[in-house]
């Protein structure tokens, strides 16, 4: 099986879709000739042409607006927003337009746009290159929201996103682009070739949107997480020798409630992790869902470990990032409760 890092996997997904479906186009800042500031679209313009892989003006609102129009005219645009921190100028076109077009037209119009954007911290990007705004988009009915944690998932889910007739906001945890970062920044970086998720078929395959994945199984507790935090969770559980059901949410909206429920009913304890700020973050929805679905199985409160409720600071990146230590403390506390 070929090895790919997450950038290569995403590139492969786009390459395949550009090849299979003439209606697929890629548009974004620096995505064309240059191949993207993270090199995710490297080589795609050369291969598929300037009318398929299109450099855009620096106007996120314009990019999304134009992508919607393209979608209405039969294309399947993949719009790249260079950093998730810069998605807000496009927020109106996403929340007011892209998300609601099908509904307001009784199904007569829709725009199958995929918005790809790198998110998350751990690269010393400070407050404008580190944000995790996924929670905001999960509050917008009509959107699907995806965040993969491995190259294998990234490719399969991106292909599904492009094929999906509904709009998908596709978050890419940039700290995972080159390796399965587990939160320990002092450790030398590890490449994807050391991780089974780095084994990625060359060819077309897709993974279902709407399905969470149990990435490791155990009876002690359930850990709900996605993106980078999946790896932090695994490392933390391993270090503690705890047997955890670690569930990679993968598709934040729609949420795979059944998988979550099954696990928490088994373990009775649940920890929720994300890198985004805690207050009103997506983790709140996970907690609320678990409480509503599994209250009587719960042996302890559902706890959250999240980014602090501050902007992402440059210097205190590792104090901010919800790393192994915080996760381990939370696991230990949770197992001791009652």
């Amino acid at each position: 099986m070929p090895q790919m890092n997450m950038i290569q996997a995403l590139n492969s997904a786009m390459d395949i879709m550009l090849t299979r479906d003439p209606s697929v186009v890629v548009i974004g800042e620096d995505v064309g000739y240059f191949g993207g500031v993270f090199r995710t679209t490297d080589g795609l313009q050369r291969k598929h042409g300037e009318h398929r892989v299109i450099d855009a003006p620096i106007a996120e609102g314009g990019i999304i607006g134009a992508a919607i129009g393209m979608g209405v005219n039969g294309l399947r645009p993949i719009a790249e927003i260079q950093f998730a921190d810069y998605i807000y100028p496009g927020f109106d076109q996403i929340a007011s337009q892209l998300a609601k077009l099908r509904y307001r037209t009784g199904g007569d119009f829709f725009a199958p746009v995929t918005v790809r954007t790198p998110c998350g911290g751990g690269i010393r990007g400070g407050q404008t290159h580190s944000q995790s705004p996924e929670g905001l988009f999960t509050h917008v009915a009509g959107l699907k929201v995806v965040m993969p944690s491995t190259p294998y998932d990234a490719k399969g889910l991106l292909i599904s996103a492009v094929e999906d007739d509904d709009p998908v906001i596709f978050f890419e945890p940039k700290r995972l682009y080159n390796g399965p970062f587990d939160g320990d920044h002092d450790k030398p970086a590890v490449p994807w070739s050391t991780h089974p998720g780095g084994e990625v078929p060359e060819d077309y395959y897709s993974l279902p949107i709407g399905r969470a994945e149990v990435v490791s199984a155990g009876d002690d507790l359930t850990i709900l997480c996605y993106g980078t935090m999946v790896h932090v969770a695994q490392a933390s559980a391993a270090r503690l020798g705890v047997a955890a059901d670690i569930i990679d949410i993968r598709t934040l909206l729609p949420l795979d409630v059944a998988t979550l429920k099954q696990s928490v009913e088994k373990t009775g304890r649940c920890l929720v992790l994300h890198e985004a700020t805690r207050f009103s973050g997506y983790g709140a929805e996970l907690v609320a869902t678990i409480v509503e679905e599994c209250f009587y199985a719960l042996e302890a409160p559902v706890r959250r470990v999240c980014g602090w409720d501050t902007p992402y600071p440059h210097a205190f990146e590792w104090e901010y990032f919800p790393g192994q230590k915080r996760v381990m403390v939370a696991i230990e506390n949770l197992l001791e409760e009652e």
Binding site: G65, N73, G74, S96, D108
Partner: protein, 424 residues
């Protein structure tokens, strides 16, 4: 080249003061439209459609007019439409106006919840629609019902949308006038101003990518030019030379604010275009012939690959902003009577009568015919349900079309609502 006046109207100061635009007249004042820059009918040059933006920049500040005050059509922009087209044009305009008036009445009677009329602006939608191909895609604002009428939409369908009944193409999900028509290539009206502008550019980019020669056409109001999406649209249209026609309907008002609050005090809205490298024209929006000619010209330019156009239609919002608005609070009640460009239907009729292809008698008959058509359509529309009497849309429509396939959480919510209603 230098003149000594300041950029700021009024007294010259030697200190910055916050300039506040003022409309020329407020309630009680005598209407004053001296600020509207006019050109003489027939006076403005008509360049070839492939003229460079730079060479035609002057067109963004002139006012293209064809009909003069006596009902003659003059000058190079005269489209020389045949009788049949003129009659159709007049019919569509009149139908639009009568339909609007009827629906305003229905709103007053409490039969629909809200309405927005296009009184005084009928020439724009109707003439533009007629000058385009049926395969061109239209991205209307909420004051473009003339597009629907001119493309042959059944009034019953429009009425049913306003009634949110079982025949509503929006399935009850939108306020009145937020029509769309997929088969008729008319995009969905939304409450969010200006958002359709970059969408139209994207649609046009896609047409160019696919190698098709259909163009996209979009409309916004003068006030809406201040929104970000105006700039996005112009930038993307210029950069990619998208085959798109971007229309600004300058009807002088944006709810209570005068067009000066969008920058119209300083320069025409059309004159934004040349700075982006976009061909821009300013046209008498109450002159059916001028609007038709300009639209044909711009469509040909775009279709032949010579790039986008920005068109400013100079007109006047003769009615209230919407049925929720009372314009007598912010402008003279009789302002429309002083509007220098008259009424589009009156002028068209005058021109046709002068050309000998229309008579008062025909006009009266047509009015009667259309009036009857409208009230019959209303009967028909009501048969699909009203706000108070059935048939009603199925309530589970509330949950459809959020996604293509209903996800589990919406199925659950739908079922919860069903249970709740079952308990009624």
């Amino acid at each position: 080249m230098q003149v000594s006046c300041t950029t700021c109207e009024g007294a010259m100061s030697n200190k910055p003061t916050l300039h506040i635009p003022h409309p020329p007249a407020r309630p009680g004042d005598k209407p004053d439209f001296s600020y509207v820059a006019l050109s003489d009918p027939g006076a403005v040059d008509r360049p070839e459609v492939n003229t460079s933006v730079r060479a035609m920049a002057y067109l963004s500040e002139e006012l293209i007019r064809v009909m003069d005050d006596d009902g003659n059509a003059v000058g190079p922009w005269h489209p020389h439409l045949d009788e049949r087209d003129l009659q159709i044009g007049l019919r569509h305009m009149l139908l639009t106006r009568l339909f609007d008036a009827y629906m305003v009445r229905m709103q007053r009677q409490g039969k629909i919840s809200f309405y927005m009329q296009s009184l005084g602006e009928e020439a724009i939608s109707v003439a533009q629609s007629m000058a385009l191909r049926p395969t061109d895609m239209l991205f209307p604002s909420y004051r473009c019902q003339g597009l629907q009428v001119a493309r042959g939409r059944s009034l019953v369908d429009l009425m049913c949308q306003c009634l949110s009944n079982t025949n509503d193409m929006c399935k009850g999900r939108q306020m009145p006038v937020m029509y769309h028509w997929a088969r008729g290539k008319i995009f969905s009206v939304t409450g969010n101003l200006t958002v359709q502008f970059p969408q139209a550019v994207g649609w046009a980019m896609a047409a160019a990518i696919k190698g098709e020669d259909n163009i996209a056409v979009a409309w916004i109001g003068d006030g809406s030019t201040a929104e970000a999406d105006f700039h996005h649209a112009l930038t993307f249209a210029a950069v990619y030379q998208a085959p798109v026609m971007l229309n600004v309907v300058n009807n002088q008002w944006a709810i209570s604010t005068f067009q000066g609050f969008a920058g119209g005090e300083r320069r025409s809205f059309a004159s934004r275009g040349p700075g982006y490298g976009i061909a821009s024209l300013r046209v008498d929006g109450n002159d059916f012939l001028a609007v038709h000619a300009v639209t044909e010209w711009a469509a040909e330019r775009a279709r032949r690959g010579h790039g986008p156009c920005l068109i400013e239609h100079v007109t006047y919002r003769a009615g209230a902003h919407s049925t929720s608005d009372d314009p007598s609070r912010y402008r003279p009640r009789d302002e429309y009577a002083s509007w220098p460009l008259g009424d589009p239907i009156t002028r068209m009729k005058q021109f046709m009568q002068k050309s000998g292809c229309w008579s008062d008698d025909q006009h009266e008959k047509l009015t009667a015919e259309l009036t009857q058509h409208i009230s019959e359509s209303w009967q028909d529309a009501e048969s699909y349900g009203t706000m108070t009497t059935g048939p009603f849309l199925d309530r589970s429509e509330l949950f459809e079309d959020v996604y293509r396939d209903m996800p589990a959480h919406l199925i659950e919510q739908r079922d919860e609502l069903r249970r709740l209603i079952g308990e009624d």
